[in-house]
């Protein structure tokens, strides 16, 4: 039993935190968001570092590391609220990597690993991030089956979402377009779901840290507001929500790598992570706005980027309600053999 990263994984996390701290400051995030553009320099640098391919198999040009390393990078990009197509691209790569046919993998994974192309994954009834620029779209239909579409095969309508740090779109494709993933769609989506949960953990962590810095500094009645229990207990709750989501998310990333316990094991772990991280991400970022007081409600303060990212991420691949329902179905299924 060891619920800690390896030394290499700690190093990846530290390096990512430092790099993004200098390369993707909140000023840069703001500049990209207000210009409705991406930080192309940042993406180029991430590609040079091999980040998009970190969890893609070496035979397809990736680094061949696992879901844990990918979760670490996703968490750090969430912490930075980076304006980048990273998350959408790795979500597509995870799905194709685990459930794509050999042809699908050979066609798309090298492009995604090298950063020559970006990808995305989402459902027909939700916002799909970065779909307009994506070369490959893994689209989950109403029946839960995921299809692999080239950009030309998809009908993409860009949408201004509430989160201007990331591009969004509605995506539709007639059933005859593209082809289904070769393997289990649910397992593919589960792996992508873990990546989104990890980003939410990073977003929550940043919101907590920004809030702590603010409430230690801001004084009212000659006292730092963080000394008042109405505020400090809210911060304690933010820590609890963040750490709870983190426990569930790291567990799910480990489950994705370990491959133990069959498909239901990862299904449960990923739904657990997404339910916890969706709730945690939304609650913690909302609390961050509240704890910042009037300033927190202004465009000028940066906490709203976190709140908006959390809202969109929370809905992406199912909000907490969807995942709680799935957990209940898995629990019920577990009872069936006993009943029979």
């Amino acid at each position: 039993m060891n619920f800690d990263f390896t030394e290499d994984q700690h190093e990846i996390k530290k390096t990512a935190r430092e790099l993004l701290g200098s390369r993707s400051s909140l000023a840069k995030v703001r500049a990209a968001a207000e210009a409705k553009s991406y930080d192309d320099g940042l993406w180029k640098e991430l590609v040079e570092l091999g980040w998009p391919g970190i969890a893609i198999a070496e035979e397809h040009g990736g680094q061949g590391l696992g879901a844990v390393e990918l979760a670490i990078l996703s968490e750090e990009l969430g912490y930075a609220v980076a304006a980048s197509p990273f998350l959408a691209t790795v979500a597509a790569a995870e799905a194709i990597g685990v459930a794509g046919t050999p042809e699908q993998q050979a066609r798309w994974l090298p492009l995604l690993a090298s950063g020559e192309a970006t990808g995305t994954l989402g459902s027909v009834d939700g916002l799909v991030p970065d779909a307009d620029a994506a070369a490959v779209i893994v689209l989950i239909g109403e029946d839960g089956v995921a299809r692999v579409l080239s950009r030309a095969e998809a009908d993409v309508t860009p949408v201004d979402s509430i989160d201007p740090t990331r591009r969004a779109a509605r995506v539709y494709a007639p059933p005859t377009n593209g082809e289904p993933l070769g393997g289990d769609s649910a397992a593919a989506v589960d792996r992508a779901t873990v990546v989104v949960a990890a980003e939410l953990v990073g977003v929550a962590q940043r919101a907590l840290e920004m809030t702590l810095a603010y409430v230690k500094d801001r004084k009212q009645f000659d006292t730092p507001v963080g000394a008042y229990q109405a505020v400090s207990h809210k911060c304690a709750q933010m820590l609890k929500d963040t750490e709870g989501a983190r426990s569930a998310t790291y567990f799910a990333a480990w489950a994705a790598d370990a491959g133990v316990g069959g498909a239901d094991f990862l299904a449960e772990a990923s739904s657990l992570a997404k339910a916890a991280a969706s709730d945690g991400g939304r609650d913690v970022t909302a609390s961050a706005i509240q704890a910042h007081g009037g300033i927190g409600f202004t465009w000028e303060a940066d906490v709203h980027w976190l709140y908006k990212r959390a809202q969109v991420d929370a809905a992406w691949l199912g909000g907490s309600g969807v995942h709680r329902a799935r957990l209940a179905r898995l629990l019920a299924a577990r009872l069936q053999p006993a009943a029979a």
Binding site: M1, N2, F3, D4, F5, T6, Q9, V68, L212, V215, K216, T223, P224, G226, A227, Y228, Q229, S232, H233, C235, A236, Q237, L239, K240, E243, G244, R246, S247, A248, Y250, F251, A253, W254, A255, A258, V260, L272, A275, A276, G321, H323, R324, A325, R326, L327, A328, R329, L331, A332, L335, A339
Partner: protein
């Protein structure tokens, strides 16, 4: 990261399960004295099997288990639906505190009877006017020759009526700042001057007591950790309070949730969207508790000090246990409101969870100050 158990940990669990399979404590008898005797006999069996002081070092008669093995022990104890041993406060609190601060003579004298439950311990910390603000306690100990004479009142003293010894914190210096004037004593409960009155809780059971101390005498040699050092020694006791027990409670919560899911299934309610949502929610919270407890364990084993997650599990457990009991009342209706029903019992007993062993409010203060580094409000200590 490897969330599987090592071969030796798995072997430890297997050995334990085999032992529990052939050592069934049976059903708890009714009546306080009978229930106590049952738990005392259970501890004796554990001690004979070498399982009473699992986390105690071998030199003190323990098994010398790692923290993970100790967690496994408490999980398996819960899974076997076995009770906590009668002398749980001795095993978890008094023993480790004596190991840390005791003289060789004290270790020699007190540790062994703790393991066998020949001498049971209770905890004399809280007072009517010193709860969360423990250091404000007023029970006083005055030197008289080579003895101390104690006067005061303690409260929430679980198991006092069965105890031979009390971990007593009393004020020995009234001029010193409140944290500095305290001394930790090992007080003999079997003497005049110690009066125990049962305190009935909202379940109707007398789980704990009031302790009226009037002229009780404690010899000098029963000071633990030095005069005036009581606050530091008491903190050691409190640090131990939340260790292995978390895993026992976590498993018990899981069992309760699984039983509730069965109840929902028997009523054909698993397809009901509202029921499914609540069960999914409780399952999520139970899993977060379990996983966070394991994360905390890894941090302590690997780095020697608890991480931010370590101070969250008691809060998570108590909150979830209450939510679970409350949902049971929604799900089961009249049954859960009928006296004698086990869910009705949970509905009442769980209210204590967010108070006993540190209120949630105090836990939030601790998180805010020690983990998050937020400033302390003037006047609060």
């Amino acid at each position: 990261m490897d969330l599987t158990f090592s071969d030796s940990e798995a072997a430890f669990r297997d050995e334990l399960r085999a032992w529990f399979a052939t050592n069934d404590p049976g059903v708890e008898p009714s009546g306080d004295d009978a229930a106590y005797a049952w738990r005392r006999d259970w501890q004796r069996r554990l001690a004979e099997g070498g399982w009473a002081g699992v986390h105690w070092p071998r030199e003190y008669g323990g098994r010398g288990a790692t923290m993970t093995e100790s967690a496994i022990f408490f999980e398996e104890l819960g899974r076997a639906r076995a009770p906590l041993p009668a002398n749980v406060l001795g095993l978890l609190l008094a023993g480790p505190t004596i190991m840390t601060y005791g003289t060789d003579e004290q270790k020699e004298r007190y540790l062994s009877p703790i393991l066998t439950a020949d001498e049971v311990w209770c905890q004399g910390f809280s007072e009517p006017d010193a709860g969360s603000d423990l250091a404000a306690l007023k029970t006083k100990a005055v030197k008289d020759g080579d003895e101390w004479v104690v006067t005061g009142q303690k409260v929430w003293t679980s198991g006092a009526q069965h105890s031979k010894w009390c971990m007593l914190v009393a004020r020995t210096d009234f001029d010193a700042p409140k944290h500095k004037g305290l001394t930790y004593f090992l007080m003999d409960m079997e003497q005049e001057g110690v009066e125990i009155r049962p305190l009935v809780q909202i379940t109707g059971e007398p789980e704990f007591n009031e302790l009226f101390i009037d002229g009780a005498r404690i010899p000098d040699e029963n000071v633990l950790g030095g005069i005036g050092n009581g606050w530091k020694v008491a903190l050691t006791t409190l640090m131990n309070e939340r260790s292995g027990l978390a895993f026992f409670l976590q498993v018990r919560l899981r069992q309760l949730l699984d039983e509730l899911i069965e109840e929902a299934a028997q009523r054909g309610l698993l397809d009901d969207a509202v029921v499914a949502d609540r069960l999914g929610y409780l399952h999520m919270k139970a899993e977060i508790l379990r996983l966070t407890a394991y994360r905390g364990l890894t941090t302590i084993e690997k780095y020697g000090t608890p991480g931010p997650e370590g101070s969250l599990t008691k809060w998570m457990w108590s909150e979830t246990n209450q939510e679970l009991a409350q949902f049971a009342a929604d799900l089961l209706g009249a049954d859960a409101l009928t006296a004698g029903n086990r869910w009705a019992y949970e509905l009442m007993r769980s209210r204590g969870n967010t108070i006993e062993g540190g209120t949630t409010e105090i836990l939030k203060n601790i998180v805010a100050e020690r983990v998050l580094g937020l400033p302390r409000l003037k006047g609060a200590a």
